[in-house]
Amino acid sequence: MTAAVVFGLCGAAAAGLGLYGAIANPRPLRKILAFNLLSSGVFLLFGVIARRGAVSAFSGDPVPQALVITGIVVAAAGTALAVALLLRFFKATGSTTLSAGALASIPADSIDE
Amino acid sequence: MISVADIFTVIAVSAGAFFFMAGSVGLLRFPDTLTRLHALTKADNLGLGLVVLGLMPRAGGLLPALKLASVWLLVLFTGAAVSQLIARAARDGDQDDE
């Protein structure tokens, strides 16, 4: 049992949790949150691979670490886009779910004018 | 051989840990939002300050010690401003969730 294994299992469980939330929760904001959990779990798996790649002078393999850094920034950008979409949808329909009723109620003029 | 600096570190860090405990207990046990805020903001900023004070002699030089101190000052300043803001939000009819 090493730190890498402990956090690797933690990452796997976090990814599973996020996946469940993204499927089972009907509210888009919660799906966005769940996706962030899912991505953090995947990043942790990368971190474990980086940690296991430690050789004498390095505390870890720098390549997966660099990938995770770019990944975190891209995940943040994706979250920002998703939130902007959600807020725009909320303004157009007054609804915070993606139910068929809400989609049908989009007034035509709110899409473009 | 235990040096004077080590004894100082042990005392300061222990005191810091004690204040963290006080802050958490206050946060849990006090009856309403504003008293909880009072307990928390005072106790944990002091706790962090004492931990920083205890670690400073061990930082290995003036600059690292100053960096530690600046972390604490930063927390103290933002903590003070933010707790003001939280207190006002709580006073201005903060909605309960449940």
């Binding site: - | 963290f20 933010v82 449940e98």
Partner: protein, 93 residues
Amino acid sequence: MAEFLQFASGFVSAMVVLGMVRIVRGPTRADRMMAAQLLGTGGIAALLLRSDITGTPSVIDVALVLALLAAFASVAFVVKGAREASGEPEASE
């Protein structure tokens, strides 16, 4: 000494976890935000202790970043209470 600092860091973390019960219990949003604030301060303390134990000064930088940005999320929470509620032209259709 390392053992003592290790113990202290464990103790501070435990206290912070205790405080985190407030995030769950609420009841007001301010209470939850406060508990997150406590987690930030306690996390900084744990990081500083950790930096000393393992002799990695760069961990102090992580504490510095948390000190700067822990306030940021709280501000995002407060601003809504003070401004948007009082007539930000939200629904501009």
